[in-house]
């Protein structure tokens, strides 16, 4: 399993946090929400991939 995925997602989270503050400070709140949503979609795509990989490993290992 790759540990660097954790740091990648943490970096995305921090980036989105900074962007949100920047955008909301300059009055463009709707774009801040769009940035959060796109980041969430990217993160969820990675999460779903990792979870399906893990559950396939569990299925093979325990013969479920």
């Amino acid at each position: 399993m790759n540990v660097d995925l954790i740091f990648k997602i943490a970096a995305v989270g921090i980036l989105v946090a900074v962007l949100n503050i920047l955008l909301s400070r300059s009055g463009r709140d709707d774009q801040a929400l769009m940035v959060t949503l796109t980041a969430l979609v990217v993160v969820l795509a990675l999460v779903v991939q990792q979870i399906s990989q893990l559950f396939n490993m569990i299925k093979e290992l325990f013969g479920l």
Binding site: M1, I9, G13
Partner: protein
Amino acid sequence: MEIILKAAIVGITGTILALVIKKTNPEISGALTLIICTVIAGMTLKALTAIKEVLELVELGTDFSSAYAAPILKCVGIGITARLGSDICKDSKQEAVASSIEVCGAICALYVSLPLIKTLLRMIGELA
């Protein structure tokens, strides 16, 4: 053997990172905790494959047929997944979802061990 060290380090650093981004966007920190669980579970499952080989050796040696060993392994797998799923839901304060996953895990374990229960009842019937 160093898997436990790696798991502890990954867990601690990951939770700190999740705390950093929890205030501004909690959903990404929830996803981060999920990824930490999958990474650590992935590591432990690699160690479990060695244990499984020993189990198969035991099976070959004695006449402990795989009809008995398979439900045991399946129950262990169901227990692990149910526990992991329900605790992740409890993290984001979804108690109802967590308890429904636990109920589903219990019933699946029971379902898997049905043949064992049937053979047991048949044996008892023959004794009587």
